[in-house]
């Protein structure tokens, strides 16, 4: 008995959820503090800088809209990387990472959509148009929800992860479409002015709060992601122990 359990300990060490939990416990407080700090500075900057002569006060929406939009794409990218980890290395932590990222990505996409709409009403005179950028983001949102639904519909976690991974990777085609849709189709939406190959083309007055807010949002994303991963590991641990208890009971009983 002791010999086998030792072997198992080594094996699970390889897959390593336990080490991940230890690491998470150590860094989470620091990440949370960093996030809070960035938000305080970022929010202060966003409300104290000048308004735009063209867009007026509404330019302040940019400070949340743009980071949220970036994160919506980054969330999916993280899911795709995790999907590769699931399919190629079959690493259980990759399964957990992809599953934990989906609701967060959906949340940031929702923020990007709603703040974009709220910006669109004063700027374009309408809440919603079916232009390429807006629709591709909307599709991203639907894909997040679809993946969440798929994950919940399969009740064997490792299988759910592998199946979702295939779909995540196929859906990745949408990300370049979002990013470059403004360049490929001439639409209402602003084309890239920060994340460009030839450097940002934006007034530093707006760039500073934007970047601080972007860092804050990113830090928030990762903090929540690690928390959600930790929750998922706990959830699986509970399930495994419950099942073990049931097996033992049915053996002895």
């Amino acid at each position: 008995m002791s010999e086998t359990s030792l072997a198992i300990t080594k094996f699970s060490d390889l897959a390593n959820p336990t080490r991940f939990l230890a690491l998470a416990a150590r860094i989470l407080p620091w990440m949370a503090a960093f996030t809070a700090l960035c938000f305080i500075v970022g929010l202060y900057l966003s409300f104290t800088t000048e308004g735009d002569y063209q867009q007026g006060e509404t330019v302040r929406i940019m400070y949340i809209h743009v980071p949220a939009a970036w994160l919506s794409m980054m969330g999916y990218t993280i899911m795709s990387l995790s999907a590769i980890g699931t399919l190629v290395w079959r690493h259980p932590l990759a399964d957990v990472s992809a599953k934990a990222a989906a609701p967060l990505g959906a949340a940031f996409t929702l923020i990007a959509l709603v703040t974009g709409s709220l910006w669109g009403k004063p700027m374009w005179g309408t809440w919603w148009v079916w232009d390429a950028r807006l629709t591709s983001v909307f599709i991203l949102f639907l894909m997040y929800l679809g993946l969440i639904a798929l994950n919940r519909a399969i009740d064997e976690p490792s299988k759910a992860a592998r199946v979702s991974a295939v779909l995540i990777l196929v859906g990745f085609v949408n990300i370049p479409i979002i990013k470059f849709s403004v360049d490929w189709w001439n639409t209402l939406h602003q084309s890239a002015s920060v994340l460009r190959f030839d450097g940002p083309a934006i007034d530093p007055e707006f760039l500073r709060p934007l970047l601080v807010m972007a860092v804050a949002f990113t830090a928030l994303f990762f903090t929540l992601h690690i928390m959600a991963m930790r929750n998922e590991i706990w959830r699986r641990r509970v399930a495994a122990q419950r099942r073990m208890a049931a097996r033992l009971a049915s053996r002895e009983g």
């Binding site: 006060e57 929406i61 929750n231 706990w234």
Partner: protein
Amino acid sequence: MTHAFYVYGSYAFAALVTVAVTLWTWADGRARRKELAALEASGIRRRSARTKDGV
């Protein structure tokens, strides 16, 4: 301010969503930790915890 509604609306919505997600994640973690503690109390323990430490 010119378009106060839209600006504050955006900030309020973003705050709402982020806070909701944060709270939900946190509450979920707490619930899971409680379940683990309950299992621990009922005598079912992790294998790795049996041999050495464990978080």
